[in-house]
Amino acid sequence: MSKQKARATNAQLTGLYKPEAVKDVAESLNITGLSDAIASALASDVEYRIHQVVEEAGRFMRHARRTTITTSDIDQALRVLNIEPLYGHFPHNPPTFRRAPPFPQAPSVGTVYFVEDEEIDFDRVIREEKITMPKGVNWTAHWLAVEGVQPLIPENPPAIPRDIEGEPSGIKREPSTARPGGLFPPTPPSSDRPSPMQGAKKQQQPLVKQVLSRELQLYYTRLTSSLLPPSSDDTKRNAALASLRNDAGLQALLPYLVRWVGEGVVNALKGGVQTDNDGRVLGVLLDVIGAILDNPTLFVEPYLHQLLPPILSTLLHSTLPPTYATYLRTTASQILSRVLRQHSTTYPSLSPRIMKTLLLALISPGKSKGTREGAIRGLMGVGKEAVRKGLVEGGGAKVVGSECMPGEQSPVVDSVIAALKVLHPPSSHPLPLNTYADTDQPLITQLQETLGEFFAEQLLFDRDWAAGILSGSSEPS
């Protein structure tokens, strides 16, 4: 307001209404030769009258509880001043004034404002113009303050507008009932995930950043510290895992937990040589993933793409600590199978993607035995069909077999055998294949073709098993 005033007083010095304008008007009325003195006196008077009207209109503006004068205010002012109102100006559709740059021939005139004369194309108007009825006035109610605290709801403005973009604003945006403790990173920008709770008010979601409450922050710190080996014993860890498995209300923590797991796995696997400690960490992390998947109150689906890499990394990593390798791979494959079981229906592309990864790890040349073993265990986790596809049809067994020394006993071989057992259970009373019998010859050839020399050897002792694997029938004959 004071700004307006200042502008007004500044303009005052030169005079808003120029004597030239008076002369122009006079000429338009066929009065020529108006003297300068008269023109300037008239201009002063016109200006005074205009100010009078504006001052009066200001009262109407004030009482209408507005801060801009509208044409209706001027209209009312003219009315009470007993002047004929100006017709044709409606407050509904305020004219937009355009500014013309100063005219070079007459710089003294200054900038000129004019109402743009809009050209209306009737054809277009008739064809396109839609008359929209304005909605009637309606009202909404919301809490502006509850017991002296302004709730952070979309109806209220954000607390400190200038800090919205600021990174550490998370603290300030908390209600003051929770004193900010440690600095907690705001929700990662990548996770604008639709959670069931937020799905309801999806439009409002971008307006309000989700911020972890103090309690959750505390929970998170305690949880992560009690899970990791250096500072934890088994009871503590089990309690933490149990809490993770069963407690409700952890949805807000999920992105952080997923990220924490991911980073933990990457850290554990990063160093080339694995220690037993790394193995323990990996085991715990797998347990955490398992617990997250177990928790019925958590909505994990949006985070699967972040959860899978740690699982698959553990499963397919070439050099896991030897004492833990089998355990880790087995656990990982079990988790994988659980993920698939729970989510492949809602997430149809999940199992093909995993299959592809596993098959690549199994078949493509140059992979270590550890990776192969992991892939086989993974396939076992995915299911029997996957094992068949990988080992038998995809020639996985042949590849693994060609890499093994004859008579070798290694985890890979064990895993292949285990996988084959999944494919078809070995018979309780194995009847060896007769290498020399004509009847068995085609079977042996087929066995060698599909599984390779190495594993064909291993299956020779059980005729039914071998036949079952080859035929694909699961029922022992």
Partner: protein, 796 residues
């Protein structure tokens, strides 16, 4: 109170009125001749004649470089010189007032020649004073000197001297305009208005629109400056310093300044100031030392006061305090409740507590007879506006509900907040006890604006008046608002049942009341039902100069009250219903009864629009806020003004009485909220913090918290009981801005950036999203309701 007497070194004629001067000038030549002869015979001034002639031949003294009016240059110059000579010839130290005739005769006596005679006759109808004040350079020079003197004065006097600048500036400007020196006036305005702008922007802006002598003559404000004395409060020592400076050109300033202004030019500039001081200023000289005149008391005691204060017959007071004191004591206690109604109420409360088996309810009786606040005079039944002698069921219901409200009320006590450590756990508890919960009702898709919104006391209804000339009613409880059908026979109605039958079918939760032909500026629900039953009537006032009464049973307009000649700005029910008051642009407030078509009382006296009107809770008094920057308190029955509240520096836009009846809060366009002690008429404190117009004020039921809403899209809570004053620490008022602790860095930083205008009694600020708060209201149980129209950003 003392009037200034012109001192010796200033020319005498300034005291002469032009009328007498011209009279004398027109006197016949023969009488002048006779006078001259007589004078010469008496004194024999040969030397003076000689000196005059010499100086006439010299020509070109520095003063004459200024351009005079073009047509009469020679004569004017002559007169100017004459004036100087007159001055010289006057003996220094002569303090007697010279009237025009002696001056003229003296002048004539000095120059006893034909051309002097011609000169005297040519003076014509132009007074000597006018000629002396014609030179625009004097004003510039004089004002510049005065400003330099004020700014150069000792620190202790400076705040005292500053207020002098404004009236002198105004009169100089008006003088220049009146004598047709438009360019000089504009230049003067441009040069010197900047330093006055912060405190007087509204007045300055108005003055800047005056350009022609006729404007000055017709403009109201200019005429007030011309005809009234501008009162300035000063300490005795400051006043004598000012006199000294005006006389001698020195005094009061610190060393070094003031040198170089001496001389003829400076003297004439001071002369011009002296003229204004003599003619238009009035000094209220206090015996108190200068330092005790605070900025606040300056607001209350300077300005064009004489017409703002209602004049009692004969005596003229310039001091609002004196006027308020003269009006005696007021009866500010709560209105008495008739004994039989009180008994009935207590009986009902007792019965209900039996029925409800509510053990707490038996304490309700304690609320039935509230103890009046100490130190107030209780009005008697006969002092109240006449009401029907017997009470009705609705009265009992209202009183019973009042008791229940008093029990269930959320108690707000901000005093706990000042002592509580906010970071501690109980800080939050203290805050919840100090600051009310606020529920905001936002109107959407409002076309041209909603000038007013109000809630019924039982919060079942909300009404809004719109610029589009209609009133809209909403049921906040989601009930359907049904009027009566228009096609029924009055004879067919026998009871409540048949009445229900003629109700409209269907209906919705909102209802449009159409009748006005101009923007609706205020709406008010009748208070008879209190918070117990929904209101039966609604009043609305509009720019079409009418007030309308709407029945909420039939949903129709049942009465129109005409009488005001101009838009009606505000309407308010008396606390007991039946009567209501309106405020209008025609500078009056009026009292009406719903059953009369014409006004019962007219409260006239404001110098400009009456912008708002409020009833005292006991209905004995009526407060009006006006565009003449004052608020007044009227005796409702007698129609006389009993208090005047001067101190706002702009229009008073809204007011609120505290429920205990002792205080009045007023808010103005100067963005300040003042709290006045009604009994003494003194300002208790001034609270600032809003950054745009304040539209509405409301007190909590205990009179402890004041809530305000305004055009800056905020709702602010104020501690009405604390002493206030400017915030000592910047983060103290950031205490709970937006509900966050002030100790957090972000907030203190924000406050350090801009100089804080917030006083320390601002408890909390709650911003809204682009919603100017048009109405703020407390429910009887201390829940705060605010309402305003949402302004969508694309709307200009």
């Amino acid at each position: 109170m003392s009037a200034i007497t012109p001192a010796a070194s200033t020319p005498g004629p300034e005291a002469a009125s032009p009328a007498t001067a011209s009279q004398d000038a027109n006197a016949s030549a023969s009488s002048i001749d006779r006078q001259i002869l007589e004078y010469l015979r008496a004194r024999g001034h040969k030397a003076a004649e000689q000196a005059l002639l010499e100086s006439l031949e010299q020509g070109g003294t520095p003063d004459e470089n200024k351009a005079g009016p073009s047509s009469t240059i020679s004569t004017d110059d002559l007169v100017k010189k004459l004036a100087i000579i007159t001055q010289k010839s006057t003996k220094p130290g002569d303090s007697s007032l010279k009237d025009a005739s002696t001056v003229l005769s003296e002048m004539v006596a000095i120059g006893n020649s034909v051309n002097i005679q011609n000169l005297v006759s040519s003076i014509g109808n132009v007074g000597a004073e006018d000629i002396l004040s014609l030179d625009p350079g004097d004003k510039q020079e004089g004002y510049r000197e005065l400003e330099a003197w004020v700014e150069g004065s000792l620190d202790m006097y400076r705040p005292e001297f500053r207020p002098i600048l404004f009236p002198i500036f105004v009169h100089f400007y008006l003088d220049l305009i009146q004598h047709g020196f438009k360019d000089a006036a504009l230049k003067f305005f441009a040069d010197y208005s900047a330093s006055l702008a912060p405190a007087h922007s509204a007045t300055l802006h108005h003055l800047s629109t005056l350009h022609l002598p006729t404007h000055v003559q017709n403009d109201e404000l200019a005429q007030r400056f011309r005809n009234e004395k501008y009162t300035i409060r000063m300490s005795r020592s400051g006043f004598s310093l000012l006199i000294g400076w005006l006389n001698e050109g020195i005094g009061g300033e610190s060393l070094g300044s003031g040198v170089g202004f001496a001389g003829e030019k400076g003297k004439r500039g001071r002369g011009a100031i002296m003229r204004v001081v003599n003619n238009h200023l009035k000094f209220d000289v206090t015996s108190a030392p200068g330092t005790s005149v605070s900025a606040e008391s300056w607001e209350e005691s300077s300005g064009l006061l004489s017409s703002l204060i209602p004049q009692t017959a004969g005596s003229t007071t310039y001091d609002p305090m004196a006027f308020n004191a003269a009006k005696g004591q007021l009866k500010l206690g709560p209105a008495p409740v008739p004994e039989d109604l009180q008994h009935e109420t207590e009986r009902v409360v007792r019965e209900q507590s039996m029925v409800d088996r509510d053990p707490g309810a038996q304490y309700d009786l304690h609320y039935a007879r509230p103890v009046p606040p100490p130190g107030v005079v209780l009005p008697s039944q006969s002092d109240l506006l006449p009401h029907p002698p017997s009470f009705r069921t609705v009265d009992v219901k209202r009183e019973v509900e009042k008791i229940r409200d008093a029990r269930k009320r959320i108690r707000l006590d901000p005093s706990a907040l000042s002592t509580a450590n906010l970071s501690a756990a109980h800080g939050a508890a203290a805050r919840s006890r100090a600051i009310p919960s606020i529920c905001a009702y936002t109107l959407h898709d409002v076309g041209e604006g909603a000038p007013c919104v109000t809630f019924s006391q039982d919060t079942s209804l909300m009404a809004a008046g719109f610029s589009e000339s209609y009133v809209r009613l909403w049921s906040l409880k989601g009930e359907k608002l049904k009027g009566l059908r228009s096609d029924f026979q009055t004879s067919s109605i026998t009871g409540a049942k048949s009445l229900r039958k003629i109700r409209e079918k269907g209906g919705s939760t909102t209802r449009k009341l159409i009748g006005h032909s101009g923007p609706v500026y205020s709406v008010a629900f009748d208070p008879v039902g209190g918070s117990a039953v929904p209101p039966k009537y609604l009043l609305s006032c509009s720019a079409d100069a009418t007030t309308r009464l709407w029945s909420l049973d039939t949903m129709t307009n049942v009465a129109v009250y005409r009488g005001h000649q101009n838009p009606v700005w505000d309407v308010q029910w008396s606390p007991m219903g039946v009567y209501f008051a309106t405020a209008s642009r025609d500078r009056t407030a009026r009292l009406w009864s719903t059953d009369r078509a014409s006004a019962l009382r007219i409260y006239a006296g404001h110098l400009s629009d009456v912008d708002c009107v409020r009833f005292h809770p006991n209905s004995l008094y009526l407060a009006t806020g006006s565009s003449d920057w004052t608020a007044r308190l009227w005796d409702v029955q007698r129609g006389s003004c009993v208090r005047v509240f001067i101190g706002h520096q702009n229009i008073v836009s809204t007011m609120a009485f505290s429920p205990d009846g002792k205080y009045l809060a007023t808010a103005g366009e100067d963005l300040a909220i003042n709290i006045w002690d009604i009994g003494s008429g003194r300002r208790v404190k001034k609270m600032t913090g809003h950054t745009a117009s304040i539209y509405s004020l409301a007190w909590s039921a205990e009179s402890s918290v004041l809530v305000s809403g305004g055009a800056d899209w905020t709702v602010r809570c104020w501690d009405a009981k604390s002493s206030g004053g400017p915030a000592s620490k910047s983060n103290q008022n950031g205490m709970i801005v937006n509900g966050y602790g002030g100790e957090e860095n972000g907030i203190t930083k924000e406050h350090d950036e801009l100089p804080s205008i917030e006083t320390s009694d601002l408890l909390a600020t709650f911003p809204t999203k682009r919603t100017p708060i048009v109405n703020v209201q407390f429910t009887p149980r201390n829940l705060c309701l605010v309402a305003g129209p949402y302004l969508s950003p694309e709307q200009r």
